[in-house]
Amino acid sequence: MAESPFKADIERVQKEYSEKMTPGAIVYIPGSSVINKTGSWRVFMPEFNREKCTRCYLCYIYCPEPSIYIDEEGYPVFDYDYCKGCGICANECPVDAIVMVRETK
């Protein structure tokens, strides 16, 4: 994937919260958590086999992050910026189109 879909949000969070502290600890930027790239937690990463995929969307449905999107053709897209590598998608995939492999960074 080329660019994070949250690029603008991340920039806004970085800018605004460095300048302001609200009384009552109000957090006023929704989804400001996207600044945390939780993909760095990952030990195993999901590897996706497009040929096997039946587009049942179970991986998308069960992703707790969520870090799985769906592309124009209906296939899952994995956002490795946020995927923590829990492996639920691989475990729930009924056709083994997702396998967990050790992270090699």
Partner: protein
């Protein structure tokens, strides 16, 4: 509209209930406890009679009373509750929550002694034990001040976004009837416009937001500082609101410490709440007898009026601090505060603490006279006999 007061003979508790009504409170969440109960009974009566559409939440504890007020206030409503002693102690956790979330809830606390042994009578230790919760505290001397205090408290609280407690004495005020001059509704409305909340959980036009999230050591400190700044701001606001109240309705509250015949006084009695009514009466008598004494009634205990105390203290030889409360292992709580506030100044009056009226024990004009005699002797000698005098103790 010209101000013509509506005179009613009411108890302190009814004065509080009328003040809540006239402040156009929207949500009341409360739990019964003696001697507070007649406040919420009266409010329920207003609702039953169709005088108001207050949402009344009959919660299952005081802890939930404050939690429900917090939920309501965070959702933009003007919220009110009332309690006493054990109930206030149970609320303690949520008192911090209200100030931390910057919610201008107003609560009447009817001062009652903490158990055991059980007591339902007057004692300030319950409210003073909440000193560090970030609530403003206003101590009323009489039923009129209960009524005025609640209305002013809303205005001050909603200006600085901090909660405020209006405190009255068990039975001495709560159940004692007196004439109270009430303000016609339209004039209260002019003085206290609808609330403009800092945030509103029912606001879906703005972007989604959250309140009260975890703050790490990198940020928590600043949020505390903001509360302190709001408390400092509150001092100014209290004086302005008190002055405006006086201009509109004839009763001036611009002094956070009300001084009574202190100008040429050798020494003054300082205290809070209903006992100061007794003291003022005693001052008049003592003056006739030749004592040069005055009274200093601390109206607002939080924020603490340090500057006003200094102005008073630098011109007197002594201050007799009357505490209807106690901090075990130390002394009367107002005494500690007053001494502390003066320590870094050049005002060094002799200060003596008299522990009076705990658990509702009678405190009379005659008691003030005895204290005056003792205080006079102390000042003449130039040194304290004892610093903390358990004045009523059966010996």
């Amino acid at each position: 509209m010209e101000y013509k007061p509506i005179r009613k003979v009411v108890s302190g508790n009814y004065a509080a209930a009328y003040a809540a009504l006239h402040s156009r409170v929207q949500v009341v969440a409360a739990y019964p406890i003696t001697p507070q109960t007649s406040i919420i009974e009266k409010i329920a009566e207003f609702i039953a009679n169709g005088e108001t559409d207050i949402q009344y939440v009959p919660v299952e504890s005081e802890h939930s009373a404050m939690a429900a007020c917090i939920g309501a206030s965070a959702t933009g409503a003007r919220a009110f509750t009332a309690t006493s002693a054990q109930g206030l102690a149970l609320m303690h956790e949520m008192l911090h929550w209200a100030s931390g979330a910057r919610l201008p809830i107003v609560m009447v606390d009817v001062n009652r002694a903490m158990a055991p042994p059980w007591s339902v009578w007057d004692d300030q230790t319950d409210s003073l034990a909440q000193r560090d919760t970030g609530w403003m505290q206003f101590y009323a001397e009489n039923n009129q001040e209960v009524y005025d205090g609640v209305i002013m408290a809303f205005k001050v609280a909603e200006t600085v976004n901090l909660p405020a407690m209006v405190i009255e004495s068990a039975f001495i005020l709560s159940h004692t009837y007196d004439v109270v001059e009430m303000i016609p509704q339209e004039l209260v409305d002019e003085f206290l416009p609808p609330r403009k909340p800092l945030y509103d959980l029912a606001d879906f036009e703005r972007e989604p937001f959250s309140v009260g999230s975890l703050a790490t050591p990198a940020d928590y400190y600043e949020f505390r500082y903001k509360i302190q700044k709001a408390m400092e701001e509150a001092k100014k606001v209290i004086k302005e609101v008190g002055r405006e109240f006086g201009e509109r309705f004839g009763r001036d509250y611009s002094q956070m410490i009300e001084t009574y015949r202190t100008d040429d006084a050798d020494f003054v009695f300082m205290g809070m709440g209903s006992l100061m009514g007794t003291v003022k009466q005693a001052v008049d008598i003592l003056r006739q007898e030749g004592y040069k004494v005055g009274a200093a009634k601390v109206r607002w205990f939080r924020p603490f009026p340090k500057e006003e105390l200094y102005e008073l203290a630098k011109n007197v030889d002594g201050i007799a601090v009357l505490d209807r409360n106690y901090s075990f292992g130390m002394e009367g709580i107002l005494f500690t505060e007053a001494k502390g506030a003066l320590y870094n100044t050049d005002a060094k009056p002799l200060m003596k603490n008299y522990i009076v009226g705990l658990g509702g024990r009678d405190f009379t004009v005659n008691d003030v006279r005895k204290i005056a005699e003792n205080m006079n002797a102390v000042i003449e000698k130039g040194e304290l006999d004892v610093e903390v005098d358990w004045y009523h103790l059966k010996r």
